[in-house]
């Protein structure tokens, strides 16, 4: 079994998943818009775009800001649930032993079979926001924003995959795993500054947010919301941080997943 087979299996699984579960497909398209509409609707009901700009401290378009935030929040959640949570899923349906004894390390199997799903889902969600971006920024500006967000989706995925695999290895070693996963996800999103920029947090929270790869992915995607062209230096810096974190988190996940596998097999958790 080659790596290509793992990638292909992930892609085919998704295509059939969509084919057989239309409600899931429709809901996948509907969720980002519902979230965005609620956030903006409530925001404009209680306040204004001017207050938003003054609170955020930059000249940003609130609609594009929340499009970028919603998109990355959805993508990050997907990675955390699908890579981290897949361990649980395999355990529940009894296929975890097969994943553990497969020729590749568990972390590689989880990550490689997930990549097509992530790219497919995230780019489908990005494409549904293109009309909104063009409406806000015009054709050229809208397409440029789409490119920046697409870049954030791809680059942001690299460290997040390792991060989620570490999460998965942690879940292998603990009890009450679903309970942990469901409250840890919103904490990660809050600390990453998903809808409220991390630079506005108190110092202790800012320190924690600096350790999370999602913080930089949100910042990168939200550069598209700045009025005028996003600064290239800032973009390069964020990309460099994300690439550095990719190396760190993926190396860590490779080590930790092996240990967690051994521990799970030893304790009979599988």
């Amino acid at each position: 079994m080659g790596l290509w087979t793992l990638l292909k299996s992930g892609l085919v699984l998704d295509i059939y998943f969509f084919k057989n579960n239309r409600a899931q497909l429709v809901s996948m398209f509907a969720w980002p818009y519902i979230l965005l509409a609620l956030m903006l609707g409530m925001g404009f009901l209680f306040g204004s775009a001017e207050t938003f700009k003054s609170n955020v401290g930059v000249e940003a378009d609130p609609v594009v800001f929340f499009v970028a935030s919603t998109l990355i929040a959805m993508a990050s959640l997907s990675v955390m649930w699908e890579v981290g949570g897949t361990v649980l899923y395999h355990r529940w349906i009894g296929t975890l032993p097969y994943v553990l004894i497969a020729p590749y390390r568990t972390s590689i199997t989880l990550v490689m079979s997930y990549i097509p799903r992530y790219l497919l889902w995230s780019f489908m969600q990005l494409s549904e926001f293109v009309p909104v971006l063009i409406w806000r920024e015009g054709l050229v500006g809208g397409l440029a924003d789409t490119l920046v967000m697409g870049l954030a989706i791809v680059i942001g995925m690299l460290p997040l995959l390792g991060f989620a695999a570490i999460f998965g290895s942690f879940l292998l070693t603990i009890k009450e795993e679903t309970n942990v996963l469901s409250w840890l996800n919103p904490i990660i999103l809050i600390l990453s500054g998903a809808f409220y920029p991390a630079y506005l947090f108190p110092i202790w929270a800012r320190f924690l947010s600096m350790l999370l790869p999602t913080t930089y992915t949100f910042e990168l995607a939200r550069l598209s919301s700045l009025v005028g062209a996003p600064k290239l230096a800032e973009m390069t810096f964020l990309i460099a941080v994300l690439l550095g974190m990719s190396f760190l988190y993926n190396a860590l996940s490779f080590t930790l997943m092996g240990k967690a596998e051994k521990r799970a097999l030893k304790s009979g958790a599988v």
Partner: protein, 262 residues
């Protein structure tokens, strides 16, 4: 009958106790998700309006948490109940499966009020504002009681429907989430002719009464809202009971669907 009621209360109390971690997790995660969402909304709010906006958002979400908890903990639990083969077990013992499902009102009420209290304390601490004060306590109790009747009726209706035909859980979730957007609109921002129509939408009138009782809305339509809430609650309960009867007759003759809720 009393023995059955006692057994159902015992079952759900015991389950709530044994799934203690799930209970805590449900409250914690819901509060965190709401916090994540609210933080984004607050970016639009000028500092001088923060208290009013937070109070409005808090009480609207408190009302929504009752609706949401009932729909997932009563309606959604039916799926588990069916998969465990409990419907047949109940029918064999000449007991309506809905007796046990209605007992989930205990879980729904406990979870939703625990979320409300946890959220109130968390938000008050984080944002440094007092949110949980009430100006008219009897009114808020009445409004929550009516909201519980409406939510339970809706939950039982989808529970009964899911025993005859599958229900898409994703659409229910979308509907569930979309309700917040509906409840948050203040009556005062609507044109006069649309206000009564707006109040006639299920859940809106009791939520308006909650907002009035905490001083978040003007009480100009209080009488109308109370009347609409009572009529709607009776009507929704009646529809739910009729649906339960017809579904029970159907499943006694033809059996339950193997998979509900999907």
């Amino acid at each position: 009958m009393w023995v059955k009621v006692k057994a159902v209360i015992w079952l759900h109390t015991l389950r709530l106790w044994r799934y203690g971690m799930s209970f805590i997790n449900m409250i914690l995660s819901q509060v965190l998700w709401i916090l994540l969402f609210i933080m984004g909304v607050l970016l639009f709010v000028p500092p001088e309006h923060l208290t009013v906006a937070l109070r409005m958002a808090y009480w609207t979400i408190a009302a929504w948490s009752v609706i949401s908890s009932f729909s997932s903990l009563v309606g959604g639990w039916t799926s588990f109940f069916i998969l465990m083969g409990m419907v047949e077990e109940h029918l064999l013992r000449n007991t309506s499966p809905f007796t046990t499902i209605i007992g989930r009102v205990l879980t729904g009420t406990t979870v939703s009020f625990a979320i409300m209290i946890a959220m109130g304390y968390a938000f008050s601490w984080i944002f440094g504002r007092v949110l949980m004060t009430v100006e008219r306590p009897p009114l808020i109790l009445m409004a929550f009681a009516l909201l519980i009747v409406e939510s339970l009726s809706y939950a039982l209706s989808i529970s009964a429907t899911s025993m005859r035909t599958s229900i898409s859980e994703q659409f229910l979730e979308i509907l569930n989430f979309g309700i917040i957007g509906l409840l948050i609109i203040p009556v005062s921002v609507l044109p006069e002719y649309a206000r009564l129509i707006y109040l006639a939408i299920p859940y809106v009138a009791p939520t308006y009464m909650i907002k009035v009782s905490v001083g978040g809305e003007s009480p100009i339509l209080m009488r109308e809202a109370a009347l609409i809430s009572v009529i709607e609650s009776i009507l929704m309960a009646f529809i739910a009971l009729r649906l339960i009867r017809s579904v029970e007759e159907h499943i006694r003759r033809k059996g339950v669907r193997a998979v509900g809720f999907w």
